[in-house]
């Protein structure tokens, strides 16, 4: 029980960190325990001073800095909570009680996951790893026969995707509302003119339903084909950004 928050059997990165605040001099986790269990008055303990001393201490840690800092943050947040409870008038004591217990439990859960991380780390250091097969399957790749494709089927698939009722009428129909792609194009142009860059997500959020979303998307495709806009995505789940190309293709 020398460290409360370190993973089992593993020296805490805060081992050796001793503080000197007011009436107390010693390891940080001991301070927290004294406050919690022995009723030491936390109002006399400056969280700022504790943090200050940690920063001085951590300066010499080098490679274990991140580890120590994450441990420290947990303890410091616990201190801050204890102190706020001591200082603030107890209005909703039940809630406060829950919060304190939640935090204690969170600390235990976190310690457990730190142990998991250590185990994973050990596995990696052992150097054992499996490799998947990357070679292309050694099967003759039948090239799709020229001309065998059915363009009508391709279009039909897309048509169904966009729920176009009649291409002639140029309308994407929804059960209750209709959206003209041309209207969407116009809206987007206005939007791009004023903003320059718009996130597709931001436009999509305003769409009432799937039909409108599709109409909007088709409008985006149209603007891109017209070179009135370009699209960029910052990452796999990043926003698709629609950017005005300023003037190009402006009909």
């Amino acid at each position: 029980m020398s460290t409360t928050w370190g993973p089992a059997g593993q020296a805490s990165a805060l081992t050796g960190f001793e503080i000197d605040v007011g009436d107390f001099e010693g390891p940080l986790d001991l301070l927290v325990r004294l406050i919690e269990q022995q009723g030491l008055d936390i109002t006399g303990v400056s969280v700022l001073a504790v943090t200050d001393q940690f920063v001085t201490y951590a300066h010499h840690l080098h490679d274990r800095f991140a580890e120590a800092a994450s441990e420290f943050l947990l303890v410091a947040s616990r201190l801050a909570l204890l102190k706020s409870r001591a200082l603030l008038p107890q209005q909703e004591s039940d809630d406060d009680e829950e919060t304190a217990e939640d935090l204690a439990e969170r600390l235990r859960v976190y310690a457990a996951f730190k142990t998991v991380a250590l185990d994973l780390d050990e596995r990696l250091r052992a150097g054992q790893s499996s490799f998947i097969r990357v070679a292309q399957p050694d099967l003759p790749h039948p090239t799709p026969e020229p001309g065998a494709g059915d363009l009508a089927r391709l279009l039909k698939a897309l048509e169904r995707l966009t729920q176009v009722d009649t291409p002639v009428e140029s309308i994407v129909e929804a059960p209750t509302r209709r959206f003209r792609v041309a209207d969407k194009v116009r809206e987007l142009r206005v939007l791009l003119e004023s903003c320059g860059t718009v996130a597709f997500d931001a436009i999509a959020v305003d769409c009432a339903d799937r039909a409108e979303l599709i109409a909007t998307f088709v409008a985006v495709l149209h603007l891109v084909r017209q070179r009135a806009a370009t699209v960029e995505q910052s990452g796999p789940f990043g926003s698709i950004m629609l950017k005005s190309t300023d003037g190009h293709g402006d009909g």
């Binding site: 089992a8 991140a66 580890e67 994450s70 943050l73 947990l74 947040s77 439990e105 969170r106 235990r108 859960v109 976190y110 310690a111 457990a112 996951f113 730190k114 142990t115 998991v116 991380a117 185990d119 994973l120 780390d121 596995r123 990696l124 250091r125 052992a126 150097g127 054992q128 790893s129 499996s130 490799f131 998947i132 097969r133 399957p137 099967l139 990452g235 796999p236 789940f237």
Partner: protein, 203 residues
């Protein structure tokens, strides 16, 4: 003799054991073997059943036999969340690296490993859930894990901001030389399980 140890597991890894299988079973096992070999992803029993025309219980039985058979081989059968994939045996990593000209990999940060552990043990987790456990911003840890294909986005919650739900990939198992999630050590939460609020997510 290397074979001697295999008898512990009650199986003879020799091909004779498969040759002795009834004609039908063996046929299915070798078909599945070929499918796993060409697949560029982990295959579920359902998928295999639909391709082979065998029933799912038959496929599962054959997969069990294959797992046994491969236990002592240079190639092993990995299971990740009910999907199966052939990978090289973890202890041969050094040889494989040498052949492929790969450097010893860069060790993921402690932050990334903690995050990975949370996703693996919870089964699925959102960024908010991870940050609640870790108490710190976990964005860059998640980005690293995604980039290395150790986790993937399973779905997006139907909630404000449409938060992503992350889950581990079969690459995760392979990367750590595990053959199934069961090989992960028990999570010691330091209190009785009935106190636990960290059960599997009840989706």
């Amino acid at each position: 003799m290397g074979m001697a140890t295999a008898s512990e597991a009650g199986t003879n890894p020799d091909r004779r054991s498969l040759a002795e299988c009834p004609e039908g079973d063996f046929g299915l096992a070798r078909t599945i073997e070929a499918l796993l070999f060409v697949a560029d992803r982990a295959l579920s029993a359902t998928e295999i059943a639909s391709v082979t025309g065998a029933s799912e219980p038959e496929v599962r039985e054959a997969l069990g036999k294959l797992t046994e058979h491969y236990r002592t081989r240079g190639v092993i059968l990995l299971e990740h969340r009910n999907a199966f994939r052939l990978v090289t045996a973890p202890d041969l990593a050094e040889h494989c690296r040498r052949l492929l000209g790969l450097d010893q990999r860069r060790q993921p940060s402690r932050a990334a490993l903690e995050t990975l552990g949370i996703v693996a043990y919870r089964g699925r987790a959102t960024r908010a859930e991870i940050e609640r456990v870790r108490g710190v911003d976990s964005d860059s840890a998640l980005a690293t894990l995604l980039a290395r294909n150790l986790i993937r986005e399973a779905e997006r919650l139907d909630a404000p901001g449409r938060p992503a739900v992350f889950t581990t990939t079969d690459t995760f198992l392979a990367y750590f030389g595990l053959t199934s999630l069961d090989e992960l050590p028990e999570l010691d939460l330091g209190f009785a399980p009935d106190d636990s609020e960290v059960g599997p997510p009840n989706d």
